[in-house]
């Protein structure tokens, strides 16, 4: 079976080789066949058919007209419920459409459903969802694998070819790591490139929307569609969005790639080191100068992240209190009890853990030692990158320290789980764009990912390098 491609499908629709209805019915069929993967929190065939009806009546030309897209269930959508994979929002129906999903709707795309994720995007295996695990489509029978997380549903949706692209959000690696685990392309753009308006917040200074796709070209098309300034998000950037796809250029001759020595972590499996070396060799062959760089504060990135992100989360999630919307406990005898029982029953273990950590690090007497210190280290980490990126055009590292692991592994060891983000978190703290592309396999024939990081708002360079590596690998 030929690999799916958004670019090719757009051509086929244009030349009437296939109709929008045929295309989407084909996808509906696949979605129903793969229900066992638990990719979607919300899927309604009726809703998709209605969208097909509407788009068929629409005579205007649209860039993504009729293209089936899956939406991470952290984006608020008018036409479908939005749960953030949490019991506390189990029956929440937004009256508004997030900036990103509105842009996709404006381009004429069809939403096939809302994909599963770790509750409030907190996790690395899509196993903290109130709606159960998502299974990695690459699993062998009776050996279910985790799809990574938190955007595991979206990554799996693309990997299982249940859509031609999916939205994700990445706070510390939540797009790149599941992309790596599922063998698909995942890009987290520069912080501020896509508006956060309408995305249930996890950690505001880190959250960034991005894209999953079957290949780099498709990612470049889709990212352009969701990027742009939004005055409703004060951290949204006023930058011109280039036509990434038109500008794609896999000729890297004369460019310089930075290889950070700090990413050679003890205990990294051989296979990971191997694909990293392979990628460097490929680039060298293409005339890319190899530059060894140092990002000396890398080792502090994980602890820094696990202070800042929970701190912001503890405050961002305070609004889920049972007063205004969402779940409210039945066992209420006082206002305090309403809060306690609603939040105790409405949030899962991982979310509660992070709220506790975040509350602690912001507490009087601990603020300076934790939160303030973490902010200072974050600045140092960003400075490391800014300095290094003066000497190179982009940086190449592995995406994750392993291939997809079995579904229930690390379930009870949060620290081990947090280590999944070791290669993705530093760039998140620095707000830099990063992409993960499939590059090589491990001994079990599971895909591994290579991460390419670029300068602020230089997504084009990231795409170009990714395209070059992708083509050499294919």
């Amino acid at each position: 079976m030929p690999k799916s491609s958004l670019k090719q499908t757009l051509k086929d629709l244009d030349t009437k080789k296939i109709s929008i209805r045929e295309l989407n019915q084909d996808y509906l069929k696949k979605i129903k066949e793969k229900e066992n993967l638990n990719v979607f929190i919300h899927f309604s065939e009726e809703n998709v058919l209605k969208q097909i009806d509407n788009i068929e009546k629409d005579n205007s030309a649209k860039k993504l007209k009729g293209i089936p897209i899956a939406i991470k269930d952290l984006f608020c959508t008018k036409s479908m419920p939005t749960t953030a994979a949490s019991k506390i929002l189990e029956n929440f129906n937004p009256t508004y459409e997030s900036f990103v999903t509105q842009k996709l709707l404006d381009e004429g795309s069809i939403f096939v459903g809302k994909t599963n994720l770790d509750e409030f995007a907190m996790g690395s295996a899509t196993n903290t969802s109130f709606f159960g695990n998502t299974i990695n489509p690459l699993s062998k029978e009776n050996e279910p694998l985790a799809p990574g997380g938190s955007s595991g549903g979206s990554a799996a949706a693309v990997a299982a070819d249940l859509c031609l692209g999916a939205t994700g959000t990445d706070t510390g690696g939540s797009i790149r790591q599941p992309a790596s685990f599922c063998g698909v392309v995942g890009i987290k753009p520069t912080y501020g490139l896509c508006s956060r308006w309408g995305i249930a917040a996890f950690a505001s200074s880190l959250d960034q929307a991005g894209i999953f796709s079957h290949n780099v070209e498709d990612a470049s098309i889709l990212l352009q569609s969701i990027a742009g300034f939004d005055q409703r998000d004060s951290t949204s950037a006023k930058v011109d969005i280039p036509n990434y796809f038109e500008n794609l250029d896999d000729d890297l001759n004369g460019k310089t790639v930075g290889i950070p020595k700090e990413y050679s972590v003890d205990g990294t499996p051989m296979e990971i080191s191997q694909i990293w070396e392979d990628a460097i060799k490929v680039l060298e062959k293409k005339g890319v100068k190899i530059k060894n760089i140092s990002l000396p504060h890398t080792k502090y990135a994980l602890p820094t992240y696990y202070i800042i992100a929970p701190a912001e989360a503890s405050s961002n999630l305070a609004r889920y209190d049972g007063v205004k919307y969402g779940f409210r406990s039945d066992e209420i005898n006082s206002l305090d009890e309403m809060y306690e029982n609603t939040r105790a029953q409405g949030f899962g273990r991982e979310v509660k853990r992070r709220i506790l950590i975040g509350t602690y690090v912001l507490s009087a007497g601990y603020y300076d030692a934790y939160y303030l210190k973490a902010q200072k280290v974050r600045k140092l980490i960003a400075d490391d990158f800014n300095k290094a990126l003066k000497e190179c055009d982009f940086i190449v590292t592995p995406t994750a320290p392993s291939a997809a692991f079995p579904l229930n592994e690390k379930q009870n060891d949060p620290i081990k789980m947090y280590l999944n983000d070791v290669f993705t978190v530093p760039a998140s703290l620095a707000g830099l764009p990063g992409i993960s592309i499939p590059f090589g396999k491990d001994k079990n024939n599971l895909p591994l990912g290579i991460q390419i990081l670029g300068k602020h708002f230089d997504e084009q360079q990231v795409f170009n390098a990714a395209l070059s590596l992708e083509r050499s690998y294919e």
């Binding site: 937004p94 405050s315 305070a318 007063v323 205004k324 009087a364 603020y367």
Partner: protein, 491 residues
């Protein structure tokens, strides 16, 4: 010093600091475009942001920032080019986000001062620590249902300025004067409507007592007082309570207190141990607020005359006394009214003192009696000016003018209309007045006799009789002169 209060054992001095919460005058909220109109039906002015729906983000309302800067300038305070919005985290049913966006470490306005004037002509500076911007919370309604609490989010997100003073205040009166002065400045600047009844201006009072010369004592904070009367009452009660405790050998617990307006007593709301840990941290949804020198300069140049400047101007231009000028400038609506009145006719500039009197005694007492406000006075400044001109040109007497004003007040007619319709012009015809006087003299021969025998006081009687006959319209001076002349001729 007369600022001390007598305890059983010692004299005590109060140490008072105020945190004033002033609602920024703005059509929309601090971080959303919802309306701020007072008195609308519950939850009719609530945006997705105000209700803290998932994924909603605050966007700063630039107008509110300008208003805060303006206020800072009016408080003679340092405007900070860089300030930061922080989250103050706590749970309450009428706080939808679970945090209030406020400014903690880096407020928009730094140190300043305001001057309060005493009746004896002295004055005192009260130092301001800071002014910062923050969101208001919603309102919990406990009295709508016996078993339920309802929440109204119309106020949620409305912009407030918190103005914090140093503990420079020593008496309840000073506290009252300080808040009046702040209110006056805000209203001149048009940055707050100053309406204490609607809660646009309220204060938390920090108070401790000490023996004169001692270090500051432990303070208590009385929350959310919305009238100057209550502020004074609460301070008096609380100071007395603290003194009683100290004099009986006890110590003050640092408490947050509530004031019961019907009993006039304070009671503890929470103690230090129960105090919230607000976990302040910079709001990651908002960028630091940066204001350039140019922007500050632009705002500064847009600032109208403030009460102190205006007071001096009035004293200089119109030769008014310090007292008259301070009464006129205490409220912007009064000085505006005065300005409009005195400028309605070039003649009136020479009668400034009369203008002041007619506004601050005659018009004010009518307004008071009818429970009305100068802002919606039935008598316009132009009409009052016209009335005063009629007096100054001797067209009507001051006494008749009072009746005319009352008529103007209730009928809405102009002074000229009333005077013409009722024929109230003064009689200034010598012959006519002489005729009336002749009549009075002829009708009261005995009185004339007594007057001529030396009972000079009786002159008033003849004036009264003559006035009665002219229905009060005779020019008093002419009446007097002619009367004396005629009576003396009899001699």
């Amino acid at each position: 010093m007369n600022n001390l209060i007598k305890g059983e054992k010692h004299d005590w001095e109060m140490v008072i600091g105020l945190e004033i919460h002033a609602q920024v005058k703005s059509n929309s909220k601090l971080f959303s475009s919802s309306s701020t109109k007072f008195g609308s039906s519950p939850n009719s002015q609530v945006s997705l942001v105000d209700a803290a729906m998932p994924g909603m983000l605050p966007v700063i309302n630039k107008y509110c920032v300008e208003q805060a800067v303006k206020t800072g300038v009016g408080l003679n305070a340092k405007i900070n080019n860089y300030s930061v919005f922080d989250r103050k985290n706590y749970f309450y049913a009428d706080l939808p986000q679970g945090y209030q966006i406020s400014q903690y470490k880096y407020p928009i306005v730094g140190e300043g001062k305001v001057t309060i004037d005493f009746k004896d002509g002295t004055s005192k500076d009260i130092r301001i620590v800071r002014l910062h911007l923050e969101q208001d919370a919603g309102k919990s309604l406990h009295d709508q249902n016996p078993s339920k609490t309802y929440v109204d989010l119309n106020r949620s997100g409305v912009a407030l300025m918190e103005i914090v003073s140093e503990p420079d205040i020593r008496t309840p009166d000073e506290a009252g004067m300080y808040i009046s002065k702040i209110r006056s400045i805000l209203m001149y600047l048009d940055t707050c409507d100053g309406n204490m009844q609607e809660g646009s201006l309220r204060a938390d009072v920090n108070i401790s007592v000490r023996k004169p010369g001692d270090e500051y004592g432990t303070r208590c904070e009385i929350k959310n007082l919305n009238s100057i009367k209550f502020i004074k009452q609460a301070i008096n009660y609380e100071a007395k309570r603290q003194i009683e405790i100290l004099e009986s050998g006890g110590s003050i617990e640092q408490n947050t207190m509530l004031f019961n307006t019907s009993t006039g007593k304070t009671r503890p709301m929470r103690n230090k141990e129960e105090a919230h840990d607000y976990r302040y941290f910079p709001d990651p949804d908002l960028l630091p607020l940066e204001i350039s020198k140019e922007e500050i300069g632009k705002i500064k140049s847009s600032i109208p005359e403030l009460p102190d400047e205006l007071k001096n101007k009035f004293i200089e231009t119109y030769k008014l006394s310090n007292y008259d000028a301070s009464v006129l400038t205490a409220e912007k609506q009064t000085s505006d009214y005065f300005n409009e009145t005195i400028n309605s006719d070039s003649e009136l500039k020479n009668h400034a003192k009369i203008v002041v009197n007619w506004i601050t005694s005659e018009l004010f007492s009518l307004l008071n009696k009818n429970n009305q406000d100068l802002n919606n006075s039935p008598v316009s400044p132009e009409n009052l000016g016209q009335l005063i001109k009629l007096i100054s040109t001797n067209e009507i007497s001051g006494k008749i003018a009072k009746d005319v004003l009352e008529d103007m007040f209730s009928s809405g007619k102009t002074a000229r209309q009333i005077v013409d319709e009722k024929g109230l012009q003064q009689v200034t015809d010598q012959g006519e007045i002489a005729k009336v006087i002749d009549e009075v003299i002829a009708d009261n021969p005995k009185m004339v006799e007594q007057y001529l025998a030396g009972k000079a006081k009786l002159l008033g009687f003849f004036v009264g009789q003559a006035m009665k006959l002219t229905k009060g319209k005779a020019n008093p001076k002419m009446l007097n002169d002619i009367l004396k002349q005629k009576l003396n001729k009899k001699n």
